[in-house]
């Protein structure tokens, strides 16, 4: 299993770490909308 980071950006910031990134983060869609709330 390849434990090296698959994201170039992350590999750049910490090339010596071998923890895999969460699959849900790697699959995050590029298209999204934003909502902003203040709940008191």
């Amino acid at each position: 299993m390849n434990l090296w980071r698959s994201s170039a950006a992350h590999a750049e910031s910490a090339p010596d770490l071998i923890h895999p990134l969460p699959p849900i983060d790697l699959a995050a869609p590029a298209q999204f909308e934003t909502a902003t709330f203040a709940l008191g």
Partner: protein
Amino acid sequence: MDGVIRTRAGYAGGAKLNPTYHDLGDHTETLQVDFDPSRISFEKLLDLFWRAHDPAHASPWTQYKTVLFVGDPEQEQAAVASRDRLEAALGRPVRTEILLLAETAFYQAEDYHQKYRLRHVRVLMAEFRAMYPAEADFVRSTAAARINGYLDGQGTLPQLERELDSLGLSAGSGAGLRERVAKRDRRTA
């Protein structure tokens, strides 16, 4: 919550430039959510927002106001319509404000306010620190947002079980989180 990609705590609604927690000026504590509209609609988020606070109550403190910030005319239209429906159903005025976010700015809060629940579970944080040595990457993590939500009492055990393998946790930490959510579900059943 399905469809939520990222969350961040921050400050908005005021005119003060670069507010901080200890120098907030006229801003209000705010939560920003990035979501996938193909999986959760803005209207569904509005429903959750209205249910998460008492809309008939207005805080006397600007820091703790309840505000629905809208980012564009579509959001504004949906927000006003949902506010009007709620007002009609309640039979009394809704005091939650609707403000255009474009007229102010969202300032991300200090790191120690981000993923607040998760930050206080040392074993989980150790794993996230290994995954994301850079703080900004940790704050942007969908997995961190979702786990923080479960730790805050959101979500259900079946929901967690469906996505646990995608959250990047070790088997031990995953089992610990699962047990925590299962215990909470049993308490509230």
